[in-house]
Symmetry: C2
Subunit: 512 residues, 2 copies
Amino acid sequence: MGIWDHKGGKEVKFTLNCSLIFNKPLKGVNLKNLIKDSSTVLAKGAPKGEGARIAKSELKGDRLDLRITSGRYVRPHDAVFRLKNLLSEELGKRYRVGIREIKAKKYKIEFDVEKEPKKKVSLPFAKRIEFDGKRCVLELQNLNEEFLRKNYVDRMINLINEKIEKQYYEGKEEHWELIWQSEEKKPVWESNPSGEMEKRNWIMHRGRGQWIFGPTVTKIVKTMEQIVVDKLLKPLDVNEVIIPKAVTWDVWKKSGHAKNLYGEIYYLCPPKSRDPEFWEEVTDIYKITGGVPGKLIKEKIKEPIGGVCYAQCPPFWPYLAGKTIADESLPMKVFDRSGTSMRYESGGIHGIERVDEFHRIEIVWIGYPDQVKKLHRGIVEQYKKIFNEILDLEWRMAWVTPWFMAQEGLTGLIDEKREVGTIDFEAYLPYKGSREESEWLEFQNASNNGDKYPKGFNVKSQSKEQLYSGCTGIGLERWLAAFLAQKGLDPENWPGRFRKRLGKLPEEIKFL
Amino acid sequence: MGIWDHKGGKEVKFTLNCSLIFNKPLKGVNLKNLIKDSSTVLAKGAPKGEGARIAKSELKGDRLDLRITSGRYVRPHDAVFRLKNLLSEELGKRYRVGIREIKAKKYKIEFDVEKEPKKKVSLPFAKRIEFDGKRCVLELQNLNEEFLRKNYVDRMINLINEKIEKQYYEGKEEHWELIWQSEEKKPVWESNPSGEMEKRNWIMHRGRGQWIFGPTVTKIVKTMEQIVVDKLLKPLDVNEVIIPKAVTWDVWKKSGHAKNLYGEIYYLCPPKSRDPEFWEEVTDIYKITGGVPGKLIKEKIKEPIGGVCYAQCPPFWPYLAGKTIADESLPMKVFDRSGTSMRYESGGIHGIERVDEFHRIEIVWIGYPDQVKKLHRGIVEQYKKIFNEILDLEWRMAWVTPWFMAQEGLTGLIDEKREVGTIDFEAYLPYKGSREESEWLEFQNASNNGDKYPKGFNVKSQSKEQLYSGCTGIGLERWLAAFLAQKGLDPENWPGRFRKRLGKLPEEIKFL
């Protein structure tokens, strides 16, 4: 549905007060006729009688003040450029006068929104946003040419509707629908493994939600990684790739993350200069005071180029962007385990189950819709085997709001056919309380992302049929948290199949 | 050598003009005697007649203006606190008056520097730095109590000497001394592998010095990694650990990097808030304009908490900091390959041989000096086997300025005994020109870092003997660059022992 196709509402009404600024005063020029002539141009493409209209015009030296009005067709921010072109040509030829600039003092748009707002809506650039039921008056002031030309107005109207829609979602929970549940397993203990591991020097907390993993825990995690290799990546013939972990804005624009993620990003800022002299004041202050001057450093770094990897697959997509994949390469399956992801998580005390820096194996697959669906299901089956037969976990699967929608701030949306969307894998954490009342840990997900990424990054198939893609992230800290919360820290109590793969635990470093 | 032990120079001379601010005007109080009495306190610890002296004192309402002078003993910034304590006690008892604050209007220090400066020296906090030969007059103005108490003045004098020393180093090359060289090997081609790989879609450039590695190159890199595991890590029984990749200032203070590295860091800034409302303006602007508002985002992020991993071992050391390692755990050997490092490299066009984001396997070992020396040599021997017998490289080893000194901006310093220091491994890049005149690629190093890290992080041995440590970083992009530059892209031309380990190359993704 287009933004103007509201049924039953009153018509949209645009009123733009703007000025064309000439490069010199226009003396003795009769603009009246020229402006009258422009009505053809301003009506082009609109149904008869519904083009833009110049309601008022007044020449003041080097400035032509205009009031342009319209309904839904040839809106004033288009019309003013049509007029500019027409006048430029005529005035250039006849009087050697050019139009230097367009300025708009006031732009008023009256339109109907889709739903009645529940509370105030505010927007940048907007001087006034007022509602009477569904009728909205949006008023902008002091706009420049770029603002008009780039069609910001349409996007502002969209955004008002989006914000109202969000008011209706607020407080609603994400979609969550159980699709499978393992049998109950008797936990060997009910302690929080993070605290116990800290006591044993297995792990050490650093900074904010960061951990150093000593040899024992690393061995456990690497064994889990090897299980993924043996039981998932090799059987499915997934090729390893290396995806950058510094993610630039262009990627997040195309992946949709630029719409929402700002509160959880670790931003990456390069220095403004590599020159040691540029940094001498900072190093001097450090050497004199022993303190790192954070405020001064912030002045000496550039604006963020993006941030550290958040979702792992988006920065792979430029490798495919704008290309057509040959059918023989489909379905394409790759995985990455080349570095850390970071998220600025909520504060408070967390263990390894909620960390700011974490390690994830990410698998991405791309193909025709059926190929993607089949792979999604195949991967879920492999996971099931791993969790049931090797890790012996108590866990469940749920159909949830697709992760990319959740990360763009959209909730409650779900594919009724259960094809495109995300399956969350959740494990019971005995130390958090009863099965029924405690929060289970999302330790894994697997998604069919539909056409989202192939469209966002413009990746095409040989047959021109729309490509789909899927991805699944294996958070190793989460696997570890789930496993140890259920099975404890004593390998004696771990499932035999896992122990066999683990082998002997390394000697811990002994401290006096 | 202490900072005051200059031989043959004139004596150092301090003159501090400061004020003690009382919490109310001192009326009818005779301070003269109190000040006279203070001479004992101000001389304490100094040779007879060489303590600090109050050259002038004048009471003005709630303020006592002082001029305090001294030579090298009981410097005025110490003396003023001795006086403050004495007066506080007496005035508190007798008149219920307290000292609210110390302010210093002017602090003049005259002293001899170690070498005559070649050019101007500037420092933060300094109003004036002037030289007459080796005689320096340093003048500071408007200092607060903290500045005096924290002894910044001593560190400023050190820094002046350090800056002059640097003027003498400037332009000097780093120490470089050949210690071993392989025989010449006939290169199979003379092209730059990066350009060729881009043409084949093996790799794709991103952002600034970042690359996506497709399946073929990743397989080559992972084979190299496996060689390191089989030929180095397993034989030497090195345990894997996971080291954070977000490095916080506390680590770089202790590792010495806070002294110098600022021009090459990718800084990490968390958001000031996670609240979506806090970010609403940013998301609105993005949704309206399609542009990410970098300036506004920079205002909404915190000062950097540090940066992305630069040298890989420093962020492991907090795991050991302040602890005493049991003898049975020595030598301790660990390695990390859990994520990427980033460096803001010089601009211009580079291939995979000089990247901003890279992957490195880092090994760290800690032990008594003999253990560390033995391991360092053993590791070098293993590398030699890998490069000669498996990769068949043309390469050489050189004894160079220790890396941690180079990274702190110190050059030309070298251990004459060739024990503590860094060995660089360099490979010939045929596409860069002749063996003699082209720059070889440093693709590897191995260091005995002596007591630097155990001291910096306060790690102790059971026997109280000073611990040493060593580290070696295996830069996988560098290995790849060296290998492909010499051996080309066609596996037919690769050494048999490498090919055997490599197996079959994966199918590349085919684009139309």
